[in-house]
Subunit: 330 residues, 4 copies
């Protein structure tokens, strides 16, 4: 099903941007797992709006755990966490109800679900649904850390800009122009044991991709040398094995920590392409679906000029759930 | 499970390079489906060795259908097709048994499965396992065509070379040097209805990625404008809607035919990064796993200098199974 | 996963008896489905405590729908319904914490989840978790009725008693004696189309069994003539086909509406064996798990003397989710 | 999917009675597992025809392992075993092609798959498909035995007869009368650890039921005291805990080794109701589906008068795959 991820650690994300609540139900967390709620909140806060370069803060996303815990410790039952939506202004987007925003899921949602779709605030396609992903991922990050595994993502490109010092300026310029800008995030998972994953369709690339493409706006992923590696020769791209303190390691990491779908023990390194926020103030061409007429549309309201910024913790969360699930399968 | 793909059209690929056989078991093909075996064979032949730039031909991959058909038509039972391996020389690779080839799954297979792994010919990690994928995909291609859906992949880059006229020269030069070279394949799925797929984890990007990363050697995938789109502004990357013969279409296709995980009706366009064949004649550093000593290794024998060549029909097959599965879910 | 059921209509039940809440998350309900909440509540009320022969009423189980609906109509997103637990007295069962009740999951929960298990009120093993099942089932019952399909369960035996007029007397006598009593429920699903289900592991018997054994206390299920049919000859147990208004029907229904795992168009008829409530006031032998000493235990508090009574709507719910899921697969 | 069972040990059964082959593809067997083929064959032989009271022997069911093994030991890849069908007489049943046999899947197969169904020999609904189940189950039985777990099934009733000494006479009398007879099989799984399975939909009752109803002709299942337990009082049906050599055990086993879906460490005991073979020589009423006319039908040819006989090892196989799968999940 579309909103469910994982084999052994399996979770379902639910909710819509302007529904009473959003949340996540998780199966497979081992009984006896303590959750550090303060730390989880700090992780959640990284994707919350309000930071520089993001939409004005409207609300804290504080998950309420209503099942699966006893005194903050998992009891073996499914764990459900809820975030009640506040600050919901259901009418806000009514003028867009039948005029799909270019680059958005508005049109495809209308095709798939018809007039019953929840259009308000992007409904189930809203970036807001990455909050429950961050609950699941934030818990996995804690569990991975106990095993010495760290997950860290960072922006490595904003629009055409590759110098981190110029990222904010690029975003602000786009915002000022009523425009938006894309970005590339790189994520590294270190401290992994060799042997996680498997061949074919449930390999680490497949799993991480499945999780990462669950984040709205992601349009590409590459592992290790990725697309650049395709321009190379085997003698350049192969990573020679050698011994370090008696352990088999590779001199380079063009394979991005994954060979045959299985972790090699080297860090998993991948990059994801984040498209520019589709919601922009600049006037765009669209179609009115009620009367099948071409029309123009301008989008007002609060929008992140660069969703890649807030996607950083989401990418960490996606990597964490995929890796933790693979660990539970061992 | 690692060798199984799909929700409604679900198949399991089995076999190893030097096992008695390889094959595929498929569930979900509607009863009454006629398979055009000649056409399937021609599709299979596209990935077979022997074509220019590939390893010398050793055997025809002729699937034998042993279950699920009556007079060449599906009867509603699972369909199983087998290819018996011929020309198997199990001893060929014995000198490599404990010296993992850089860039290969040799090392991770040893970590995961230990000495019981099937090392011969790459075992279950062999590119040979893409033959069963092409059986499943070849059947789906026929079923998609009946619905007016075409899937077409092509090489758009070989090593650093982007001019198709120079692809073979680049591959031959690599081969002559005992080296190999990577490549990029672009795939286009046209004729699609809008509305296939869904949000989050079972969207079209997720499904196609899961299938495509099942092909050995693929290290990246991007949809529509992909990584290049990340360098752009929303005003450039958004695809304006307009009407063509009363139908909603987009003027450009930076979204690669997918919005919110759901097909828009525009062609799905994606590109995959294929790494250089890891097996090269050039001497490389490795480690002998029996005595944990560093050593050197040279790989002899028949190897494609550019696996991207033979991966082309495999990418079509991967796209076809993912799309057909999504169609059955409607 | 243990708390998830279904292929196309898939739901996960979560919560514990004394957690802040219990609930259900459902995927696969078609967009545009109107839910009749009053009717759902009336269905829920049938399993609520307080009726004659059940525990004293403590609370109304009123599901709150927090996601997946817009104005009471499904929008295509997962639907989540929550029941906040009131009247929770977490200390109530502390004396039983390490003395497992015979016939209960206390002991196996302790083995599986250790001291982290939620013991209070039976935790995730509580019959209370059938309330979310009734939410899912109650919605399916409405959707089935729109297709002309009716699901009706009834008690056909209480303890040794087969005369419905004596059921309440039998239950009351058991209660007065500090004891409990079992029962048998028969369920009939009528108005079904022929052709639902499939052979082998996903047939209608398999699906209904999987759902029904999700209800605590069910220890057996039989379809059509069931165990009695095993005592017969083929000439007695085979159901002859004939035509009724041009439609193929059977003269008898020993097959219980299912042949080869597939519905025949005749009503699905099955019976389930419900064990006596394990919680009884009569003193029983048990073991103290803290010091591994044999001990005695008497269970006080509110308990249904015959769980079969409240299991009736749960059996309807289980049948409904299994049948509706099979319908969505067509 | 209908022909697939299991979570961690997952297998797909394929083939039809008169297809070129039947077989099974298994994922999840740990690498390094040695299979005792002689023993597997002896187990297979128990369900083969030819024994007293069964159809005349026509062929040995000798599985050929074509993938997943190296020198008889699993290598971590999926394991595929094939049995080529011999002695196939596709024309044999042509007179029955459009006249469904009462009690058989003929009619429902026609409804579901139409004229494309494989009618010959019962197609995919044939009891012959239990041979691949016995391959999977036979391997699991070996793996369970290594863990000290034994699975043993036996006939406890044939038609109305409960005295084993009279079983063969009862079967022979039915055969002589051109009739058939049902039976009840009891299965015991001993040596189990406590803690396998889980609550709700993936408990041991659910899993075993799902597997067992995969055997054609099974119409009921009960665990422990089952239906008889429903006629009792809690004080009779509860199994008191006590200590035996310091281990928690129960004095009786009305719970059939399962509490809350989880094994208690006591033997799992269940009984299954096997209907009388539907194929009988006695003339029966049916309908000609080609012209929608009522007609009569007599079934000739080789048929077991009591399928319960050959179902005994199949029930063991079903129990074994369900239990082994649960063990792998720990």
């Amino acid at each position: 099903m579309s909103n469910t991820f994982g084999n052994r650690f399996r979770f379902t994300i639910w909710g819509q941007s302007h529904a009473p609540a959003i949340g996540v139900t998780m199966e497979g967390l081992p009984a006896g797992t303590a959750i550090d709620f303060d730390r989880l909140q700090r992780f959640m806060d990284r994707r919350a709006p309000g930071a520089k370069g993001t939409t004005p803060r409207k609300e804290a996303d504080r998950p309420e755990f209503v099942a699966g815990l006893v005194d903050g410790i998992t009891c073996g039952a499914p764990v459900t966490a809820i975030i009640y939506n506040q600050n919901v202004r259901r009418g806000d987007y009514d003028n867009l109800r039948h005029v799909p925003r270019p680059g958005h899921a508005d049109y495809t949602a209308w095709v798939k679900y018809g007039d019953s779709r929840d259009h308000s605030g992007g409904g189930q396609f809203s970036g807001r649904l990455t909050a429950p992903l961050c609950i699941a991922g934030g818990i996995c990050l804690q569990l991975l850390e106990e095993k010495g595994i760290a997950v860290e993502a960072k922006l490595i490109q904003v629009g055409p800009e590759k110098d981190p010092e110029k990222f904010m300026a690029c975003i602000e310029a786009a915002a000022k122009a009523g425009d938006s800008v894309g970005g590339i995030i790189e994520c590294c998972v270190s401290g992994l044991p060799a042997g996680l994953g498997g061949p074919m369709f449930d390999g680490m690339e497949n799993r991480i991709s499945q999780a990462v493409f669950g984040i709205p706006g992601i349009k590409g992923i590459e592992f290790g040398s990725g697309f650049a590696g395709s321009a190379q020769y085997g003698s350049q791209n192969n990573d020679p094995f050698y011994l370090e303190d008696g352990k088999v390691v590779t001199r380079t990491n063009a394979h991005g920590g994954i060979l045959g779908g299985i972790t090699s023990g080297m860090p998993i390194v991948f990059r994801v392409a984040c498209k520019p926020t589709p919601s922009i103030a600049i006037r765009q061409d669209s179609v009115d679906l009620t009367n099948n007429q071409e029309t123009k549309l301008s989008i007002h309201g609060r929008h992140d000029p660069c969703i890649a910024l807030r996607a950083i913790p989401c990418v960490e969360a996606a990597a964490a759930v995929a890796v933790y699930d693979a660990i539970l399968e061992e």
